[in-house]
Each structure stands twice: as C-alpha cells, then as structure tokens.
Symmetry: D2
C-alpha cells in the first residue's frame, strides 16, 4: 500500500507490543527487566508508558494485580523467562484466585530448543506451566499476531469473572519486523472488554419472591460487590429492602461502617439465624465456612435458602444448593432487583431486625468496655486500644 | 442417634449418584461397565435409568456428547478407570471442542496409592489428566458431597458455552453409606442450569448501527445458532433484515435449504465481498479460514467489519477484530436485536442482494447441468447424481 | 559446499524421518494414515518400511507396544493429530505403565494457531497433553533436528526402565527441505541405546549375605526378567541357589512350567511363609498386594526381608522397605550374583523346600481330581478340562 | 493388641515425619513456618533438627538446594501451602534443572475441598502443579505411609541424576495417630540411596579406542564431575592421558587453576579445534553452545566426535551425536577408564598439547599486560585488576 516515492517503513515486535498496550489504554507496566525483555522496558518508557520496577517479580505481580482490582483494567506484570516467570506466576495464581484482572507477560526461550529439551538458557514450557494457574494463557509466535494476542489477554482478564492471564512472548518475536502500516492495522482496540451481562427476568422474579418470603433475611456483600463500582445501587438495595447486611473484609467501605443496617458486630448471630441469605458478589468459600456447619447454625442449615448474585454460573451450588441464582454482572443484577422491587416493597420483618441491631449494639458496648480496661499485657484488645 | 421406634435407614454412594442424576432429569447413561462401576450400571437400570452399553468407551462418549447437543441436557458417559477413562477422554475432548454438553463419569483407584505411585490397579491421576481437555473437572471423596459434585458437573456442562466435564468417582466412594434422610437432603436439584444471559442495550445498539450502515451485509449461522433452539427469532431476524445468509454445516436445517435469502450456492462470492458480517453462534475458526486471507477477499479484509453474537466474551477478537461484540445467549441476543430493529427497519441494499441471488441461481443451474451429464466414471458429480 | 558441476540435491522432512528410522533399524510402522501424515506412510512403504494399518489408532498403538516388548526395539505407532493422537495416547500410557518400549509419532497442527487457541483444524497442545502419560516427549520444529528427535525418542524408550515416548511432528515440518548431504549428516545412528548398567560389588555382596541367611527363601520372577533375555543365567541362579521360585504371569515360559523348583501351585503358601524374597524384575504393585497384608502372611510381614533387582533405583522402597537393593539391568545383576555365589554355594534349607514341594504336589493332585470329576455344568474346572 | 500391663503408646504424623527424616540422617530443615506446618517446625527443633528460617520460601529453597549439592544428601525445604508452595517451587524447578538434590515439603489443604474446587483456604492441587517441574512428586494421605513417602523422596532426589522432589503433606496428616511401635516399624532407613552404576566393559573399551585415536583430544569437566567427589581419580585420568582440559564454571577447583594441563586461557581455541572431546559430567547445553556452531569451529563440527560420561542415558545425543556414550556414575566410569588405560597409555599428541599450552600462555601474558595498564575508567580489566 505504499506509494512509489516513500521509503517502506517497518515496525518491530517491541513496538507492536507497546502500541497494542497503549491503544488499549494501558499506561503502566510493573516488572523487573532482563533478558529477553530488557529493551521492551526501555522502549516502553520512551513511548510514554510508566514502568515501575521491583527487586522481585512477585512484588511486581502483586502490584499489578491490585492495580487491576482498583482500576478494572488489567494490571500488567512484565518478567524475564524461567525463574522470573515462576516468580510472577505466584502472583498470577493469587490474582486468579482473588478475581483480580492481571496479565503476566514473560519473555521465553526458543521453541525449537525448549520442545526438544536440549538445555536452553532458561528452558521451560512456560505456557503449559501457566495454564492450570490462570484463566487463560496465550503464546504469540509472529509479529502480525501481537495485536490479537494482547486483545485476547485483555478480554480474558476482565470479562466474566476477572482473573489472571498469561501471555508468552518468545525472545525471537521482539526482533521480527513487518510493514509499519500493516502492523498498525493488525492491532486491535478492544471494544467492550468486559461486557455487561443482564439477568433474565424470571431469575430476578425468583430471587425477589424468595426474598419477600424471608422471616430473617440477610445480605452479604463480597469482593465482587466492591469491584463492581455499583455502590449507589447496592446501598439503595440494602436500604429499600431494610435487610441487615454484612460486608466481607474486601467489601468494607462500600457502605459506611456505622450504617444503621450493618450487622458486622453481630456476625455470629446473623449467620447462624438468617433463613434467607442473599450473596452479592460473595463466594461461599472457606471465609464463609463453605455455607455449612456450626458457623451457619448447624442443624438450622437445612432450612436456610440462598440467593446468589454472581457473574459465573458455575459458582452456583459450588458448596451448597442455591435456591435462586442470579447470574450476571453485579451492577446489572442489582439494578434489575431494584426495578423489580417496585415502589412499595415491604421492609424486612421488624422483630428480626430489632433483634439483630440490639445484639449488635450490645456487642459494641461490651467491646468498648473491654478495650477501656486496657490491660497492661499485650493482647488482642490492648493492641486494638493502642491503635485507636 | 435415632430414636428407638424408627429403623435407621442408610443410603450408599451408588444410590446417591443415581438419585442425584434422576433428580436432575437425567434418564440415560451411555457407557461400558466394569470395575469399579459395574454395580452402578446395574443399579441405575434397576432404578429406571436407561443404560446403553457400547463395546468401546469412545463410542459411548460420542453418543453421550451428541445426545447432549440434541437435548441441551448433558449426555452422561460412564467408564471404568485408566484405559476406560482415557477412551472416554477422547470423546470428552471432542465434546469440549465442539461445545457439546457432556459429563464423563469414571471410576478411579484409591487416592493413597495413586498419590504415592505405588502401582495400583489402573493407577492414574485421572483428575489432573482430564483438566486440560475439558471445561471443568471434579472429584468427589465423600458420599455427602455427591449431590454437590453432580450439580457442579451439570452446571459446568450446560452454562455459558456448553462443553465437556469430567467427574471422578473413586471406587471407595460407592460403598460409603450415610443416613438416608441426610443423604436425600444432600442432593441438589439444579435451578436454572443454563441461565439466559442478556446483552446490554448499548452493545445491541452498536451492532444495529453497524448493520444498518452496511452496503454488502451477510449473516453467518453457526452451530451455536442451531443449539439455541431460537429458530423462529433467527428466521425473523434474517427476513426482517433482508440480508443474505450462509449456514455452517451444523446449522443446516435451521432455515429451509431453498429459503429465498440463502447464499449457500454463492458462498465464495459472499465471503469475499461482504463488508459487514454478522456471526450468529459461529466461530472464526479454521472452517472459516480464521476470518482472513483469500477466502475473505484478501486485501478487502482490511475494510470488513464483524458483528459477533456469542455467549463467550473471550471468543471476541480471537482471530480478527470484532467491531460489535454481542455477548449473551443466542436467543436473548437475537430477540434484543429484533426488538431494537423496530417496525421499519430498511432491507439490505438491493444491488447487493440482487447480485448475490443472481450468482447463486447461476451456480445452481451450472451444477444441475454438470450432474445431468452423468459421466460414466465415478467422480464427485456422478456420485451426487447417483445419490439423487 | 557443492562443486559447480553437480545439481544441488535436497531432502525433505518426510524422508529425513524415514531415513532416521531406517538408520536405527526400525523396519515396521503400526498406524492409521490421515492428515498430516498420509504421505509419510506412503513414502515409508516406498522406502521399504513395512506399514501395518489398523482401523483404530489404539489397536495400532497396542501392537507397537507389544512388538517393542518382544524385540527390545521401540515399536512405532504413527497417527494423525488430535483424536488420532488421543487414541494412540491410551496405548502409550499403557505401554509406559507396562514398561514396553514404544514411540508414538503424531502429526500436529500449526504452533502459531494452537498457541493462540484460534480454533485450528485438530488444534491441541499434544506435547503438553502427552507428557504426564509417558517417559519423555519431544517436538521437532526444524528439519535439521529430525535426527536428534528420533535418536532421543529411541534412547528414551529403551534405556533404563523401558516405556512410552511421544514424538510430535508438526504438519509444516514434513515439507521443509534442506541440503541432502547436510541432512544425511544430521541423522544419528544411536550407539548403545540401552546401555547395560552393572551393580556395585558391595550391593551384590549385601544381597548374597541376606540370601544366604534365609531360612525360607523365595525367588519371584517378573516381566522385567522376561524382557531381559537372560534366560540361561536366571535358570542357573535358580538352580544353583536351590530356591523355590514363582513366575508372574508375564514371566511364564522363562523356565518350564514343570521345573522341579516351581512353586506356582503353592503360591499362597510361599508368599505367606517366605522370610527372604528376591524380586527379579518384579514390582511390588497391586499384582503382589503391594508386599503387605494377608497375602504376605499378615503379622509375619514385619519379619520378612526383600532383595530387589531392578534397573530403576526409585522402584526401591516404593511399597515396603527393600533391605538389599540391586540396581542395574537384570542380566548384569544376575550375572554378578552368579559370580559372587562362587562354586560352593549352599542350597536352600531342605525342610523349607521339602515343605513347599509337598504342598505343591498335593495341590496339583487335588486340582487334577477336581478336573477329573468333570461336572456337567460349565464352571472354571470344566472349562479347563475341555481345553485339555 | 497390647497386653494388659503396658500402656498403649501412640505417635502422630508430626513425629513420624521428624523421625523418618532423622532416621535417614537429615539434620537440617530450611523453611518458613506457617499453617499447616507451624508445629512441625517447632517439634523438629525440639527433636534436635536444626531449623533455619527465611523471610521468603524461595531463599529457603535455594539454600536447601545448594546444601544438597554440597553434601550429596537432599536439602529439605519446608513451606506452607499455595503461595508458600509456589515460592518454594521456583527453587525446586531451579534445583531440578541444576541437578541439585532437594526435597520440597509443603503442607496442603483438604483433598475433598480441593478436588471439588470449593474455595478452601489456600486451595491448590499442589501435587499436579509440581510434577512438571521436578523429578518426582508424592503425596502422603495416611500416617502409616509417611515412612514410604520420605524414603521415596530421598531416593528420587539423589539416585540417578540428582534433582528436586516434591512431597505433599496434607494438613490432616499431621494430626493422625497410630500405634507407636507400628509407627516405628513403618519408617524406612534407606539402604544405598544413590547406588553406584558401573559402565559395561564394551562401552569403556569403545571410549578408550576413540580417545586413543584422537589427534587433538580435549577433556571437559562439568558440574557432575564436581558433584561426584572423585577428585583424585579425575586428576589421575587427566594426568595419565596427558590431555588438555577445560573446567565448566561449577567444576572450578576440582583441579588447581594453574594445573599444567589447564586450557582455560585457551578456551576458544580448544573448543574450535579439538577432534575428540570427552565430556565428564558436562552437558552440551546453552553453556556449551549445544555442541554446534561457531564456538565449535563451524564446519569442523562435522568431523568432531564426542565421548560422554553421564549417569543419564537420555542425555546422550540430546544435542549432537555421541560416538562413545559411557553411562554410569562419574566415579565408577572414571575408575573403569583408568583401569582400562593400563600402565602404558600413550600421552596426547605433543604437537597439539604444545600448541594449546603456547596459546594459553600467550593469552595469560596478554591479559596480564592489559591488566597492568590499569586504565582509569572502570571496565572488565580494571575491575579484575582491583580485585587482584
């Protein structure tokens, strides 16, 4: 496509990677430079990307992951091959477990030597090693596929349940060149990377019917609720329903700690007594005793019913039966619930809420008294007192 | 712990598996009996499940997979351990690639011997082997978890993009017993196993705007469209838009072969010439030349834009850039498009459709003439003639 | 490097594979032709290799594996990609478990599409899938590496403990060409593919000391003894020591069934009573009840001591403690024992051997009587009678 | 089963692990305590094991690995589950690549929750994750199998080519109890953990014949030679043969730097010119340019022949053809060569050795001159000068 009077311009793999990231709004890389990605780091800086270097790849990876959680854009961690990759992999595995959107980009050794196991410098089939520990993993072999590779990595990291993605870039790739115009065309600006996912009307209705029937309802706000940035709708849902709520640790701050409906200081009581629990972006994992056992009232567990809002349909029934699954992104699901509740939704039963808030207030007073005694030896209470 | 007037009834692992399947409407098992699942087969029959036996597990697996595709319920394949498992695994891998909902249930050897690699009968870490070849894989170690295990397998097989799931049931599990009432309570009747997933309004609008701007639009119907059972809405979309369409081989029959808008007999022409292509449950894989190259008009490819309807957000941009992704289940997306098109949607440009249908009709005549000549030697045409 | 009067000759990947196999004495291929190895099959036949085709890759793989066991040369199984590969993989896993030397060669799809998961024809990372199920796995990307790839596969299959090896040959490899002379030089004729491995003198002495101290010694001959082709030395060891022996099923025929020292018809007795057991190429796996429990006399097991001859040091202590490990190839170990025993080795204690042979003879008579009664209904005994 | 006068004593999993380690001479653990191995660390110290704690598991793992290399006993690294395990895994992978004997012992979460993927605390199938990155991996589920598990781990780490082994100990295992006497009997004191492996006479002869025929022979000493602790025999081999030698970096110190036959200062020359190269525990990996290319004299490579001494038969032909493989432990192989050389072995050709030493001496003088000039700016030479 060049006309005859122009010099044919080319672009190399380094710049295709950088341009693909920039095209998709990635402005920061967390990493530790070295062979074969030393030049990539340097050039990325020259092109205006902020490069934050660390002394160990794991720290870089953890920084990238938490940046992803805070910004809803995948945090990028860049490492060298083999040991650098493995260091970053620990952070990647952690990000995937924690649903933080992150992309680990690692340089890698030559395929022909790795695949024959001939003892290359930092020989390792990084793609195969990474797969069980992340949402998706891709390797790019040709410069013209860099655009697709970056686009896939971004989509995989942020769509559906967010998590970690591994992108393998062999050393040889960076030096490959191609026509600059064709290179530019090969890049992809991702459209709607994390598409909203609306719940079906009947599933919304099923959840509302169950919620309305509850005698001792409870709302549990999880990390997913915090990630969703639907704070106002979530607050509206809590307040319109008049249901006591518990925030998981990663959902602290979504509502003020002293909100009138907070049941934080009566946690044991509400988990054991609630008859209908609505999980909003919270998983019934070990932090919630898998929805079973003494924490949940033992024998009473048989009578309890769960409503669960989650973007992953496979989260449903993962620990106990979910009576009313609501599959979609948190924002869309909460909005649909609010709309479905209409204007005259009945508040949660008063005897239950009065009971919960009374216990809560009593616990708060008791805790304050214990802290006030300020015992001379260091224990849990004295430490808390000192902090205050 | 029972009071003296009642008989303590127990239930074993065999019957928990059978009851869990029946509770979820599974009425057929495809398999090949043997250690350690011989009795499971026999008991399942006694409990009214239809057991269809095969002489090789691979055939059983393929039958289960296609049954899954036809019924939208996961097809169940039951095998013995190690070689039986591996035979079924080939079918499972195939089902996953083909998006057929299927569950491979295999008996397995004792964990303690497998994990120490002491040479057990048919020793193999089947769970780890299966994982890279299916959507999800689970192992159940305790009778009280059978209900959760079956529920997770069903959800994983049919929700989102359908596919294969592996469920590992160790030999020891079947003989475990538990209180019958507790056992019954531990089973889960899956609610809304394949939740509908509605697209967001702005993504629908984006797709319609692009479709309306097209000069040479084309609709491609894929296997996903066939699986969706939204035949009427899909037909309405095609006819309301007046756009020529191509069915992939697995979508044949969704619309009649002689539909006025069919471009089947002008396939090469429309793929090379269309400027906007709407993929309905069709993937840009090797069957579509990855959306690139000569098949797609070579240089013209740079000007083409794609609308893609798919339940998996990670399918977008997997081969080429998708200008208007529509992420959701096919039925919900097509319904949303129809609603968004309103009552006075303009038909596809007449010069393009006239051109397409003229070529198609010419090709049909030419093919008929070739067949009529009925050459004495066996070739593609004579074979077709004989079949007619 | 060619002189000017000659035509530059080239060789392609197909012929490098064929020549490399022939150079190493491989004269037979078991397989099922198809894309991308169709031409390889055809050309191999043209070059004088015997190609035996099957209707399912698993049967081809099983044939190759057993040919490997019988000939001590790796049996070659050739398959297409993805499903063909998976079918062959079942046989490969079986061969590895059974210590049969075998090489599964499968064609595979293009790396760039597989690694980006773009939906290639029969897309699968076959190398990664195969690794957990075989001794070694290699992929060859360049024509000049075919020689190394075949050599490594052969060595891996037959050296140490024999087993299955996977060799991945991508479709593109076959069509690559290189200078014919350089190609010929790139091939490797493997020297001493299965090197003998002699035991150290002190480990031989340790074994002999223990054997001499035994009051109720027993020799167990396993599959490894049969594979070793050291029949004469093994017979000499048995006869010189005067110890009763038991053959495992795969070691039948190593010594005649009616050998005076055979304890086959007194199996339960000798396993439960022996105080020192010498395992010759036999593993203490499920076929031998893991060396523990009722089969081995229950409480008496605590007093028993094992001598184990095996080429794999990691087989030692895999199920019970091995008091005298003898690590080396069976032939070398047995020869070293014979030499160490010298010319006046004491026979096994007469009270023990008399007891064993008396029980054996009684059991044989009893079995004969049972068979003689020839009951009219079909059972185990009548079936055996008919066969005689 | 105890008689009435004795107290039934029990032993728990913690102490079985500790006793098994001590029984096998393990006196040091490198690690980082935490759930679920906190108590193990504490109790191990109480039982006299030295516990060296680190602030990151990777450092503990690297320390354990290098301790293994220096002592020929496996270095033990102890970590918590999931992230602690992954941190240790990087060191384990490194140890395996470097042939350092090491055992990574990690606590792990409950199987039933991990296998159903229900979100356990630090849920991860660590056994499956570790396998591709180590020589062997085992998981122990029952207290009575701890002895076998530790024994297998030790054997796997030090026998054949040394390397990393992973041992998975689930949290539940530690609290299991069993009869103390039975527990003691279940422990295994490993006999001959790293059995010597003697080469066959014909392979020794083949190597000597080739060596004798050489015009420009070279000996390359690698890390394996250093690990073997056969310093005297290796020196005797070098001196008896009169062949110039090169030490790899990990073999420095095996012979004094100023040994008369050292070719270190003529490295480029000898690699490019030697016609027969004997590799003693050195691999033809990237550090040796894979035995090919410019480093090795380019076109001359076609005429070169290799003798390779290595304990792993599969190392042979891994990069180039090995004309005379000598498979066995370094000590046994070198001893066999010395014996085979007899008393009147001819020294290496004088023209070759004279040439090598002349070049070496010239290079040393040149280097000394360059250093003497002591340039004011910091460069490679000035740095070296300062160090001196």
């Amino acid at each position: 496509m060049t006309d005859e009077n122009t010099t044919q311009e080319t672009i190399d793999g380094f710049h295709l990677v950088i341009d693909a990231l920039k095209l998709n709004g990635i402005d920061t890389i967390y990493g530790l430079p070295g062979i074969p990605i030393t030049d990539l780091t340097r050039m990325a800086q020259a092109e205006g990307i902020r490069v934050i270097s660390f002394r160990h790849e794991q720290n870089a990876g953890n920084a990238a992951a938490i940046a992803g959680f805070l910004t809803q854009k995948p945090g990028i961690c860049l490492t060298v091959s083999a040991p650098g990759f493995l260091n970053g992999l620990t952070a990647l595995a952690n990000a995937t477990t924690n649903c933080f959107p992150m992309i680990l980009i690692s340089g890698s050794s030559e395929r022909e030597i790795v695949d024959l196991q001939q003892g290359d410098y930092e020989e390792m089939d990084q793609l195969a090693i990474a797969k069980p520990l992340c949402k998706a993993a891709f390797r790019v072999l040709h410069a013209q596929d860099i655009g697709v590779g970056i686009a896939r990595a971004i989509r995989s990291a942020v769509s559906g349940r967010p998590g970690g993605v591994y992108l393998d870039l062999p050393a040889k790739l960076f030096a490959q060149t191609m026509d600059a115009a064709a290179g530019k065309r090969s890049l992809i600006k991702v459209v709607d990377a994390a598409p909203r996912q609306l719940p079906a009307a009947d599933s919304v209705q099923r959840a509302l019917t169950l919620l309305k029937s509850a005698k001792r309802p409870l709302i549990l706000l999880g990390k997913g609720a915090a990630y969703a940035r639907a704070d106002e709708d979530i607050r509206a849902l809590v307040e319109k329903s008049g249901i006591p709520y518990l925030p998981m640790s990663m959902a602290k701050g979504l509502l003020p700690d002293n909100h009138a409906q907070s049941a934080s200081a009566a946690r044991s009581h509400v988990l054991a007594e609630a008859d209908v629990v609505m999980l909003v972006g919270a998983r019934l994992n070990w932090l919630l005793s898998h929805g079973k056992g003494k924490t949940w009232g033992g024998a009473k567990a048989a009578e309890r019913q769960f409503i669960q809002i989650d973007i992953a349909p496979t989260e449903m029934d993962s620990n106990v039966a979910i009576a009313a699954p609501l599959v979609g992104d948190i924002g869309s699901c909460v909005a649909a619930l609010l709309e479905g509740m209409g204007s005259n939704w009945p508040k949660a039963p008063g005897d239950w809420t009065a009971d919960v808030y009374a216990r809560r207030d009593k616990n708060i007073v008791k805790m304050a008294e214990t802290l006030a005694k300020n015992p001379p030896i260091m224990n849990f209470q004295s430490a808390l007192g000192s902090i205050r």
